[in-house]
């Protein structure tokens, strides 16, 4: 017996189906603006890093991070920018940096750590750096932070 029937998208026959877009509020900015913002942030982060101001670089990149559909380029750019910060921070400085961040930024940072772990070996991604940040972040923000990454549909 054919098992093809299992692959039928039954939701298309349900007028009242719950759509992905109903599960979260979309980013009000249009994709082009988001991309421009991300580029601007990358240069802001570079100059902050040059001054050694990692704290403000983190705040800059994590504030208003792109999410939702149609902004793949901006998402990739933001991940790249963030990895730049993660890779250039001394591990002894990490706990103090994390404690200075607001709670929303913890959640966003955790999203990027998991995004980075999902794509090992590509570009600047270094597993050991991500894991050490993950450990420090979990110590500061707890398992609740990880739960929020799993539940949040606004993926970065």
């Amino acid at each position: 017996m054919s098992a093809n029937f299992r692959k039928i998208d039954i939701d298309q026959y349900d007028e009242d189906t719950l759509l992905e877009t109903e599960l979260y509020d979309l980013d009000p900015r249009d994709p082009a603006t988001v991309l421009a913002d991300s580029k601007q942030k990358q240069s802001a982060v570079r100059s902050a890093l040059a001054k050694g101001d990692i704290g403000s670089a983190l705040v800059t990149v994590l504030d208003g991070a792109p999410y939702g559909p149609n902004v793949e380029e901006a998402k990739a750019l933001t991940l790249q920018t963030l990895l730049l910060i993660l890779n250039s921070t001394k591990s002894t400085d990490v706990p103090a940096l994390l404690r200075a961040l607001p709670a929303e930024a913890h959640d966003t940072l955790m999203k990027y750590l998991y995004k980075g772990m999902a794509m090992p070996g590509t570009g600047e991604v270094s597993g050991s750096v991500l894991l050490s940040w993950h450990e420090k972040l979990t110590e500061v923000a707890g398992t609740g932070c990880i739960v929020r990454v799993m539940t949040d549909r606004r993926t970065v």
Binding site: Y24, D25, A141, G142, T143, G144, V147, T151, D152, R153
Partner: protein
């Protein structure tokens, strides 16, 4: 502070629990299609009556204190109202009355209204059935709240005015509806939630902060404030006059149940296995501490041999993991390169108790937290919790004294 009263009712999960008015009887369901009434004898709960009418798992139970009626909701899509009558042999029996719910999915949650003339049944059919008694036909009829619910309703709570109803759903929203029924209710006076309130008026809709199912909703005693707990490990407190929503991001696993204890405090409990007291006002909210204190609970729970020497809450930095003996063992093995297994007792086998026991009183998720005792000033003095571990616990609503210890207990918590 007195220690919490701990009762091991069963070795299986307690899906829901409710007490009668004078707290001499308890009804709970042991994860089956039957509800069991217990009577209190000294320090024990003795099984008395089994209520069996449902075909499938009972999901929720409520006991109306004044009219002494029980309502049960089940996955079989039905609800029954049970009233106590005198049977043919002179003994009292609990007589079920079927409720015409008109839902095509499981009933998930049920609560009597404050005046006990209505009750609300939440369901997986994207609807809430608001039920009232039809004396002509001698049955309970329902009206459905449907719009704009997009998914399973997980919890409901009644406003003290007997008209407004809050609901938490799996579409990540908490909502406030009007459940005004013309023949039952008198016109409610205007409140912060609105003035004209025909049936199915939506008085408020609030999304969970990070996309978690809303597990539990509760109105404050005055009804002017709404709190909800969601699966993204947050609790949110809504001041509709504001309109301000205050969010507390917790460092622990999510809470699934919460109840107000006064106008400025509430207790939340859930996957973290311990009830936590929160306090605040329109200016802000924060966690005060766990009701589950290491000292008072010491005789009841295994003594820590691991790394956490402070109170249980001190190690809450990594949530429930920090309170787990097994976790501590592996962490020691990892960071210190040593195994805590003593010679002669192999890691596996051997002492089966202790190793995997949590340092909290509840050994698994708390399914429900409810007010138990009201003090003279109207605040809730004690709350009861039931858990997946089969335990029923009655807690004093006070975080152990010693303000010096407070900050250390909160040390690991992340607050805002």
């Amino acid at each position: 502070m007195a220690a919490p009263e701990v009762f091991t009712i069963a070795q299986v999960p307690l899906t829901a629990h409710a007490f009668n008015a004078d707290r001499s009887k308890l009804i709970t369901s042991l994860n089956t299609n039957e509800a069991q009434i217990y009577g209190r004898q000294g320090n024990e709960w003795k099984p008395e009556v089994t209520l069996s009418e449902h075909d499938k798992l009972i999901t929720s139970i409520d006991w109306a204190p004044n009219s002494n009626r029980i309502v049960t909701a089940s996955q079989d899509r039905n609800a029954y109202v049970w009233s106590q009558t005198t049977g043919a042999d002179g003994n009292s029996v609990w007589k079920p009355t079927l409720v015409l719910l008109r839902i095509n999915r499981a009933a998930t949650y049920v609560r009597w209204s404050p005046k006990e003339d209505k009750f609300a049944v939440a369901s997986g059919a994207r609807a809430i059935a608001v039920c009232s008694f039809d004396a002509d036909n001698d049955w309970w009829v329902s009206r459905l709240l449907k719009k704009p619910i997009r998914s399973t309703v997980l919890s409901v709570d009644w406003h003290p005015n007997n008209v407004l109803l809050a609901a938490g759903t799996a579409d990540m929203k908490a909502r406030v509806f009007s459940a005004y029924i013309k023949d039952v209710d008198s016109r409610p006076s205007p409140s912060v939630w609105g003035e004209k309130l025909p049936f199915n008026t939506i008085c408020g809709e609030y999304a969970s902060p990070a996309g978690g199912w809303v597990h539990s909703v509760a109105f404050s005693p005055s009804g002017d404030v709404l709190a909800f707990a969601s699966h993204d490990s947050t609790i949110s407190i809504v001041y509709p006059g504001g309109p301000a929503v205050i969010t507390v991001r917790n460092s622990t696993l999510p809470y699934v149940s919460l109840t107000w204890t006064s106008e400025d405090a509430l207790v939340a409990a859930g996957h973290d296995c311990q009830p936590v007291l929160f306090s605040g006002s329109a200016e802000g909210w924060k966690a005060i501490g766990s009701l589950d204190d290491a000292k008072s609970g010491a005789p009841l729970t295994p003594v820590s041999t691991g790394s956490s020497s402070g109170g249980r809450f001190a190690s809450a930095g990594v949530g429930r993991l920090g309170t787990n003996e097994a976790f501590a063992r592996f962490r020691n093995a990892d960071t210190l390169g040593k195994s805590s297994a003593t010679p002669g007792s192999p890691v596996s086998g051997g002492d089966s108790s202790g190793d995997t026991e949590l340092m909290t009183v509840h050994q698994n998720t708390i399914t429900s937290v409810r007010p138990y005792e009201i003090s003279a000033n109207g605040n809730v003095a004690k709350v009861s919790t039931s858990g997946v571990d089969g335990k029923l616990v009655i807690w004093n609503v006070s975080v152990p004294a010693g303000t010096g210890g407070l900050s250390s207990r909160l040390g690991g918590m992340h607050l805002r």
